[in-house]
């Protein structure tokens, strides 16, 4: 004979398991970098570097020279040219950047602007020396206001620090063409 107490135990157990299943965070939200959010102009301290978001320009087209060829890139969105000041604190390293748009989407550094002079993708930051670099993103215009730049170690930022830097005051107008020179 089944006693009511036994039924109760099974039911309570089932309910507890259900609650655990529903509230357990999924893999993707657990395996994340450690974020720190920084207001405009603040210097962020990551585990192995410190960085500041110093300036931003918007452009409809960018021009630069790569491997002896002059290139002009246009876009349906807008080019956001972010200026960064950073210093490694532990060892010589590279820094990776993405733009977390206003809608929450992540925009990687534009590879159409790979190899630009002083570009973040080719910069190495040295301990004890503050260097500047520029990061070029290509994105829809409405992703800029309310977005932030995320700086991480260049490879895998999971379980490492990530700086979420609020942009400096953005220019009202986008420039028709920005030439990126060394």
């Amino acid at each position: 004979m089944i006693r009511p107490a036994n039924i109760a135990i099974v039911l309570v157990g089932g309910a507890l398991l259900g609650v655990m299943m529903q509230t357990a965070p999924d893999y993707n939200s657990v395996v994340q970098p450690f974020r720190s959010h920084l207001a405009t102009g603040e210097t962020g301290e990551a585990r192995s570097f410190r960085a500041r978001f110093t300036g931003a320009r918007l452009a409809e087209r960018i021009a630069f020279r790569r491997f002896g060829r002059d290139l002009v890139r246009d876009t349906d969105g807008v080019f956001l040219i972010a200026e960064i000041e950073a210093e490694a604190t532990v060892a010589s390293q590279q820094i990776g950047a993405t733009w977390r748009g206003a809608s929450g989407r992540d925009y990687a550094l534009s590879r159409r602007a790979q190899g630009i002079p002083t570009g973040l993708d080719s910069r190495w930051f040295q301990p004890g020396l503050t260097d500047r670099a520029i990061a070029v993103f290509e994105l829809p215009e409405d992703e800029i206001a309310g977005g932030e730049m995320v700086l991480t170690n260049s490879f895998n930022a999971v379980f490492d620090s990530a700086l979420h830097l609020a942009p400096p005051p953005l220019p009202a107008d986008k420039l028709p063409l920005v030439r990126i020179d060394p």
């Binding site: 532990v90 060892a91 190495w124 040295q126 301990p127 020396l129």
Partner: protein
């Protein structure tokens, strides 16, 4: 009593699983850093069968940016081929006393910069224990590495040499470069 045996067995097996799983991590960790540093002098020292010597060190500063300096280190390796093959790569870094580490620059301009700084106007290329143009046995393999560092490192720095095949063992050389100012 019988239960206890099973419980102990389960715990032992669990420990064995953890140990086997940790083995690769421990090997990785040992190979990640120079845990066992041997101090070497002017004459150089032997590291896993390869004789390593710091042939020359130059440094340069530019008056426009007095806070930074570049250092070129010319390294000489000498050994038979088997020992060099066993090195698997060659990692050179500069460090100060406080644990900060500078790695050699490897950009498109590095070679040109080395040629501009070294008095003989030559660049011997990156450090590799098995270069394609290896000199005959017994002769030294030269390499040049360029470092961009804060100027206060010119007072004295430590050069570390190791390789994937030698770590956790590594060599450390004291370095005091001769400085010349670039125009």
């Amino acid at each position: 009593m019988k239960h206890l045996v099973w419980i102990i067995l389960a715990m032992l097996l669990l420990l064995a699983t953890v140990a086997i799983g940790a083995l690769t991590d421990i090997t990785d960790l040992r190979r990640a850093r120079e845990w066992n540093i041997t101090q070497a002098g002017q004459a150089g020292a032997e590291l896993h069968g390869v004789h390593v010597r710091v042939a020359q060190v130059w440094a340069a500063t530019a008056p426009s940016r007095p806070e930074r300096a570049v250092i070129v280190v010319r390294l000489a390796l000498r050994s038979n081929e088997a020992a060099r093959q066993a090195w698997i790569g060659c990692d050179v870094s500069l460090s100060d006393g406080s644990g900060r580490v500078w790695r050699p620059l490897q950009t498109a301009n590095t070679d040109g910069a080395i040629k501009a700084i070294s008095p003989d106007g030559e660049s011997k290329g990156r450090c590799t224990p098995v270069p394609y143009n290896a000199p005959p046995e017994g002769q030294e393999i030269l390499s040049d590495q360029l470092f961009l560092v804060p100027a206060d490192l010119l007072k004295g720095a430590k050069l570390r040499v190791s390789a994937l095949g030698t770590r956790p063992d590594g060599l450390e050389f004291p370095i005091t470069p001769a400085v010349r100012a670039l125009q």
